[in-house]
Symmetry: C2
Subunit: 378 residues, 2 copies
């Protein structure tokens, strides 16, 4: 396995932690909708030990924005985005499993994406990056798994966008996935989700500093990214949660700008957005957002059933949240019923979390036991 | 009654129809949160005949963006925004009632607002317009009613923002309202609605052509308004409706812009937004949007009950829609239960429309009979 050390030889668009490893997939890497990449660098982290038979691997695929750093480790003790879910004795038990989390193809935390340098020009790909699809992301993750000499994954697990990538993985490599876990995700996004994603992209595209994707890395479209993130937040969290947390409370951080921040909920959105705008690349956001809209498992056959019939996993878990408006419960039901209709064993759970789509990140009290129970049977 | 003829003597920020009348309320007009207007011009239309005793008047208050043109007439045969609801034999029956609809204070269709010329400077008020509240809008509408010599309204009716204005009217002039109709509205907006409104305002404020409110009338912040309108649409319509209407259909109107329009739902949003951006003034939008967030009937007493206890109407109707996420059903229940708790007679109806918040505009099949039945008892 050729692991690249981080350093001047490898350019990552955004800094990554010391536990992040890099792996180069030689090209040309053909993209589903046309175009090729000369090669693909993939950033990943691992936890636990790969068994000598290489038969205890679990692949974790992330949502739109996280890094591969899902869990702390000796090399990088900072908390990961799913810190409590992974580890010895945790629901994804590293005493049993070798866990691999990859940074998505198209993202900006080590893996090749629109913010990476285009070898042909020496400048970031920007909009010269070919159209990105969920299937391409699954293919790049598959390249990492193959290079590790793993022929069959014990489980592929993904929340949100990562759930679609996990499904694409199971559809594209049916004999290599023993268990499939789809979390707050869907077989395809709804018209409402397309609309929300489209507005997020428009917010970025309307920012004059975006410059049709040719912004300087030092001068990114901050206003557009801030607004895109806030629009996202209204789809990630539930109205009920905000009513309880914020109601009509005024913030002490009133600003003097006309029509500026006055309510607590506005202050909360601003704080979240500020954290995000400098952490994520705008073009990467556009590509990943669009990839989500384009995905439809029905394209892998003559309809939803035909697409899902390609999944051969022994067991599947479809779990979602009552208050999720981005990937609402009826979409999890569609996926669960669809998998059952083509003969899969399906565990389907609808959780009563009030945190909406983001619950899988913050409501471990509800999600932990469901993941733990399913994984105990893996 | 001093009615101003339209013409060079009266400046309206946006064109109004031939049926629109103007009335000047002499100032100073004191605003609830401070500041005064030297005078207030109010645009309105009427249908039906005022009885000799002036006891058959119904005041209709609009949502954020409509004009006073709720219904066609001989002077202006173009369809109004509630064409089928008003007229001889219609739910708001002009054989019985004299119906007055005013353009909101703060709007741009004849009534004084941020786009009107400031007599002190000869230029549009812009951000020199004082903070606008729902209570100010009710007071301006009340000025029109008073000048018509009407001492008690048979009914005050308002949808959405107009429902809040109707409630403020009933709270501020308790002896002058016999019947109160609140449609898809609330006693105060939720944290979620504040968030959505805040993002709409941010979209406008981030548009560089907004220029802190000092844009040229010929060069308004079109991008910001377009995005604000689209964000609004995601809160006005239900996910279920869009799933049925659009699903994942591609549009034939694909544009070539990177990340441009590809799905039918994106094309629908674009069409709605384009109609809106040149029709409405950006600063007026900001003021009216903020006014909605600021309104809380609890401010008219030591809490919700105390505020609502000021309402003295003989009968009230609170009607809303199951799929409304902007003014969700639990807010109509709060209003209905609150009015009942302070001794009012309340008709409370929750309609199964799938069009969400906008249903009152488009689902007359459901709304018509409810309004008709209530009005038959007025």
């Amino acid at each position: 396995m050729q692991l690249l050390k981080l350093g001047p030889a490898v350019t990552t668009a955004r800094p990554v932690g010391a536990a992040t490893r890099m792996l180069r997939l030689d090209g040309p890497f053909r993209m589903r909708r046309g175009g090729t990449l000369p090669h693909v660098d993939m950033a990943f982290e691992t936890w636990g030990e790969l068994s000598p038979a290489r038969d205890n691997a679990v692949l974790l695929l992330t949502g739109l924005s996280p890094k591969a750093h899902a869990k702390s480790s000796a090399d990088d003790p900072s908390p990961g985005w799913w810190e409590e879910m992974i580890g010895p004795g945790n629901p994804i038990d590293t005493d049993r499993f070798f866990v691999v989390c990859v940074n998505n193809l198209g993202s900006c935390f080590g893996s090749t994406g629109p913010a990476s340098l285009n070898p042909a020009t020496g400048r970031p790909y920007g909009l010269d990056f070919p159209t990105l699809t969920i299937e391409d992301m699954a293919a790049a993750a598959h390249g990492v798994v193959q290079r590790m000499g793993i022929h069959r994954l014990r489980a592929v697990i993904g929340p949100s966008l990562g759930g679609m990538t996990a499904l694409a993985y199971a559809v594209q490599y049916p004999d290599e996935v023993a268990n499939l876990v789809s979390i707050s995700s869907a077989a395809r996004v709804s018209a409402r989700a397309i609309a929300v994603h489209s507005l997020q992209r428009e917010a970025i595209r309307c920012d004059p500093t975006w410059r049709d994707g040719n912004y300087s890395p030092d001068h990114p479209p901050v206003d557009g990214m801030r607004l895109a993130r806030k629009i996202g937040m209204t789809s990630y969290r539930s109205a009920r949660e905000w009513e309880g947390r914020f109601g009509r409370e005024r913030t002490e951080l009133w600003d003097d700008e006309p029509f500026g921040i006055e309510f607590e909920v506005e202050s909360y959105l601003e704080a979240h957005a500020r954290k995000f705008v400098n952490a994520f690349d705008a073009n990467c956001y556009l590509y990943l957002s669009r990839a989500m809209d384009l995905f439809d498992v029905a394209e892998h056959g003559g309809g939803l059933d035909a697409g899902l019939s390609r999944v051969r996993a022994d067991r599947t878990l479809v779990v979602g949240v009552e208050t999720d408006t981005l990937f609402p419960p009826h979409q999890q039901r569609e996926l669960a019923l669809g998998l059952r209709a083509v003969g899969r064993t399906v565990h389907h759970v609808e959780l009563p979390s009030i945190q909406g789509h983001d619950a899988f990140l913050v409501d471990l009290d509800h999600f932990g036991p469901v993941i733990a129970e399913f994984m105990s049977g893996v």
